[in-house]
Amino acid sequence: MEFIGGKFLQVVIALAAFAAIIGLIMLLVDRAPKSAKDKVTIVGFLAPAAILMLVGLVYPALQTSLLAFTDAKGQPNGVDNFVWMFTQPEALATLRNTVIWTVLVPLLATGFGLAYAVFIDKARGERVLKALVFMPMAISFVGAGIIWKLVYDYRGPGIEQTGVINYLRVALGMDPKQFLLDAPENTIFLIIVMVWIQTGFAMVILSAAIKGVPVELVEAARLDGANPWQQFRNVTVPGIRGALVVVLTTITIATLKVFDIVRTMTAGNYDTSVVANEMYTQAFRAGEPGRGAALALILFLLVLPIVVYNARVLRQQREIR
């Protein structure tokens, strides 16, 4: 109780201090001489955010970039970490897996989400059907990893199966299978988990976008004799292009950063590691912060173009409207 009370008091004091500082800035800005008021206002209101950005984002980013060129003892070692990344078989497998993930997950999740959204559109019980697919979104990646690990669980032939899939396989007269141990298909079995989570996200956004397509356009297409596929292809898809880009890029970024699923299900063993997982392993477990930072840098470079593309498409959309 004393502990909780202490923490609570700290929060109250911190909030009060924050409010006081903001109040002080506002007061000073207000008191500024008329001639310089505009400049003071801009500086006064931008400075706190800019300083926090510098301390919390820019400085760590620069530090990580520098760290990427040092060895385990903190001595500069040139591009050794990057050489390691592109020559060691383990590190290469990590990069290869990340590519497989980023290609498959956005396509599958968006594809399934779109198909589902179209099929249940205006169907009876649409809300319930939506909720069913959306529910996995509410589960954390770690939770999903644990659930699916149990689904994939294995016991030898002749021993009672504990995993759902192997139970069904045995019931159908097949041999149980070690889903997570055989590369490269084990990566696919991990990808299924991510698709399972992300399909709900894609479905909800796309369903909302489909409802935003003007009814007149759909009516006109129907009157012109377009069949459902042509309606979908020529009216619905162009109508939701913006939403599709957002969904695809958001899922791609989430997939590039995937960490929890791999970590809980295989810990990167059996050739399933991905960049984010390897980054953590190298930096915090192997005591090679330089290698971890180098991987983080690569991850940043991979995410960057997608974020830029996303921002550009959004801006274009706004201009059209």
Binding site: M1, E2, I4, G5, G6, F8, L9, V12, A72, K73, Q88, E90, D153, Y154, R155, G156, P157, I159, P176, Q178, L180, L181, R263, T264, A267, G268, N269, Y270, T281, F284, R285, A286, G287, E288
Partner: protein, 446 residues
């Protein structure tokens, strides 16, 4: 709502009142340990009002036991020991030291971590009093684990014994099996059990989340120590011989005679590879169900059995030490332990260090159960279980050669990464030589 504008201040006052009551005096605190003879604690001096912070990876009931062990010291000297346990200790201690937020005292579960902190210049060398106590109470091997580049930094605290082989005495008795005294006898017994066909001789499980594979490193270390002797073991751990030296690959293959033989493993779980997907804490259960005969795991396995399991020579389960392979290499055992290092050298910190290195500390802690120490001043009568008694006897036996868990001594890049991963790849089908080559490649160049 006419009077809505009153709502906010009222709510704020309410919240404030709540927060104020929440931080009132908590009362009590630090139960009085009655009947403590303070005479033994006089040498530590009067430390009234002084606070020493201790940080370690020990949590839950073990943390409570540790705090109880500090109680008489606190009562007699007047000092306060602020203990903090965290499962993130291994990563956090480095972060905290770097951030200038180091604890006064840290209890390191891995000598490798201690070495990192000492070489980074964060730790203070141990005071003379502690050094003298360690010379008196521990073997030279143990002192070495707290020594970095010739400077002695940390006294050992508690110990655990690895390499136990767990079995159900009743199963052995019913089948007329004898506890093997040599490795060859153990292999003969293994073959006999497999040929009988009633159960698999062994069950094993290496799954441990991100640390998957570590129980396998224990297996290999046991075999290296018993087959090649302590000298080769030391050379291997300190990288004076490469990881892929033929002696080590031989040891791996010798371990593989059991672990990679589908006839010998994996009772109750499936094929050889099911070792990788079986959690290390559950892996031993089939011993109780009669689905396998033996299970290799450290002394802490005693806590992994289901509640109510009697751990005793005539009980539900009991353990024998993995037998020697080459009698000429002596009676060697493998184990782990904690090292107590300090980030400050104030008098109160030095007093706490001296207390933790003393026989009083070892006796008080062991009396609470679930722990042993290699401290020679420890009275075996204080052991709370048959297993603790056996472990203490092994640790105090002058014939016993003790070696610290090898993966804990190797650099982090190997000991807590590539060695684990190598074991996983090995059980998953990669040949021992190839695994050893890849671990050797990952050894940090310096």
């Amino acid at each position: 709502m006419k009077n809505r504008k009153y709502l906010l201040p009222v709510a704020a006052t309410g919240a404030l009142a709540l927060s104020l009551t929440a931080c009132g005096p908590s009362g009590g605190g630090g139960g009085q340990a009655t009947g403590v003879d303070c005479a033994a604690y006089e040498s530590y001096g009067k430390l009234d009002g002084k606070t020493v912070s201790v940080y370690a990876s020990i949590v839950d009931t073990e943390a409570t036991s540790l705090e109880t062990t500090f109680a008489p010291f606190e009562e007699c000297t007047g000092a306060t020991i602020k203990y903090e346990g965290s499962k993130e200790f291994e990563t956090q201690i480095g972060v905290r030291a770097k951030a200038g937020n180091a604890p006064d005292i840290a209890i390191f579960p891995q000598p490798g971590l201690l070495t990192d902190q000492a070489t980074a210049g964060n730790l203070k060398p141990a005071p003379k009093a502690v050094s003298d106590l360690v010379d008196k109470n521990w073997s030279a091997d143990w002192k070495k684990y707290g020594t970095v580049d010739g400077t002695f930094y940390a006294a050992p605290m508690l110990a655990n014994v690895k390499g136990y082989i767990w079995y159900a005495p009743k199963t052995f008795k019913d089948n007329g099996w004898e506890v093997p005294k040599t490795w060859d006898e153990m292999m003969t017994l293994t073959k006999k059990i497999a040929d009988d066909g009633a159960m698999k001789p062994w069950c094993a499980g290496f799954e441990a989340g991100e640390a998957t594979g570590w129980p396998g490193t224990d297996w290999v270390e046991d075999v290296v120590l018993r087959a090649q002797g302590p000298e080769v073991y030391d050379q291997w751990v300190s990288h004076q011989i490469p990881f892929n030296d033929p002696k080590i690959v031989d040891a791996m293959n010798k371990t593989g005679e059991i672990l990679l033989n589908p006839k010998y493993v994996n009772g109750g779980f499936g094929d050889v590879r099911s070792i990788l997907t079986t959690g290390y804490a559950q892996a031993g259960q089939p011993v109780l169900d009669g689905q396998c005969a033996m299970h290799h795991q450290a002394s802490f396995q005693a806590a992994n059995w289901p509640e109510g399991t009697v751990v005793a020579p005539e009980g539900d389960v009991w353990a024998f030490m993995a037998p020697p392979i080459d009698a000429s290499k002596g009676k060697a055992i493998n184990g782990g332990g904690e090292m107590v290092g300090a980030y400050k050298d104030t008098p109160e910190v030095q007093a706490v260090l001296a207390y933790m290195a003393s026989a009083d500390f070892a006796n008080t802690r062991v009396k609470l159960g679930g722990a042993v120490s290699a401290n020679k001043g420890l009275d075996p009568a204080n052991a709370q279980s048959e297993l603790d008694k056996q472990s203490i006897a092994l640790l105090q036996d002058p014939d016993t050669v003790f070696r610290f868990d090898g993966s804990d001594l190797m650099p982090g890049a190997v000991g807590s990464n590539s060695f684990w991963k190598g074991i996983v790849a090995w059980v998953n089908g990669t040949p021992a030589k190839q695994v050893a080559d890849s671990v050797e490649n990952s050894w940090p160049k310096s």
